[in-house]
């Protein structure tokens, strides 16, 4: 093959996939409209302590059936075990665990989460933090990108956030379909967020 042809060939096989991936990404991020869903399943993520409390308060007023609760701690699990199906995700890192071993536990948690979510892709996923909600949402996002599911991700920022978004919120802002804050100050600060007053 002529030298110049080889270059163009290589450029093509590299740029075309990248271009397609980008188009797909842009579509999933900005284009993907809500579609009418027949078999509706709503999943709720319950992370820990205050976040769990706030989420339970939010959904207690919702007269919609929650199909699955994704829990990452025992206390949350115990609170909802009688209410519906529970998916238990092992913790990435325990308090006081060394950083070296936490690499493996994080990986373990990520793999288990990926497998469990693959078989339990909901139509809607509700999240409100904490940090453990970030990998869950990104796994779902990757599945959406791959066309495995079309989950709508809704994030509700904690009422405790008045001045700026939480780190989890900030990381999830680009990949959520809806992002709701509960204080006007946050609404003024970020473009994508929605504000309807206190939801609790």
């Amino acid at each position: 093959m002529h030298y110049e042809n080889l270059i163009s060939f290589l450029v093509t096989i590299v740029t075309v996939p990248i271009f397609l991936i980008l188009i797909r990404l842009v579509y999933i991020l900005y284009g993907d409209p809500p579609r009418r869903v027949e078999n509706v399943s709503i999943s709720v993520f319950l992370g820990s302590g205050g976040h769990t409390g706030e989420m339970l308060a939010l959904i207690s007023k919702l007269d919609l059936k929650i199909s699955t609760y994704i829990c990452s701690d025992e206390t949350s699990k115990n609170k909802v075990k009688d209410k519906g199906e529970v998916i238990y995700i092992p913790r990435a890192r325990h308090v006081g665990q060394s950083y070296f071993t936490s690499i493996f536990t994080t990986l373990h948690s990520f793999i288990i989460s990926s497998i469990l979510l693959l078989f339990n892709c909901p139509s809607v996923l509700l999240l409100n933090g904490p940090g453990t909600s970030v990998p869950i949402a990104y796994i779902i996002f990757i599945y959406k990108f791959l066309g495995i599911c079309s989950t709508r991700i809704i994030y509700i920022e904690s009422l405790a956030r008045v001045e700026k978004l939480s780190l989890s919120g900030w990381l999830l802002l680009p990949i959520t379909n809806r992002f709701i804050v509960q204080w006007d100050k946050l609404y003024q600060k970020y473009n994508k967020v929605e504000y309807y007053g206190i939801l609790l």
Partner: protein, 199 residues
Amino acid sequence: MFTILITTGATITFKLLIDIITDVDFIENLIKLQVSKLYIQYGNEINNGKNKSKQYFDNLIESKQLVKILQLNQIENYHYLNSKIEIIAFPFSSNINSYIKESDLIISHGGTGSILDCLKLQKKLIVVINDQLMDNHQYEIANEFEILQYCKKYEIIQLKTKEFFEDMDKLLNDKIKYKQFHESDGVILKSIILEELGK
């Protein structure tokens, strides 16, 4: 005659607040305000199988000689009584709402959950900020709620001042009134979910 609940947060021991409310002076000031029943939720911080909050509370009651100085009779564990005041303490109650309902005023830590529990039940609320916590969201949220006139916030050092008890007196006797908090009915979140489901 008034009933007061002091809740210091379940997961982390709010030591500074527990320090102050177990002072003989503090209890005597409450008695002066005609508080006849005091509930204290002192926390449930478990570490190595031991309840740290309980240990901390126990040590303070012991070292401050509260029972002796106030001539309290111990009816049962964590239940004290003298002619003027009844004190009932517990680490954590899963049924805290029933205590809130029974109380005329709640002195609470700045946790969102506790604040909302009190406001939803339309109770008089004083929020005490724990400035030892890492990020001070508690301050931010209490501040916003104070601006909206749902409650009054104090920093821990203010709890020893005359003004604190004067404010509490006014609150208990309806000389200061706060706005009513209107709980969300869940319609907004429901409609957001339905929109996402294409309905």
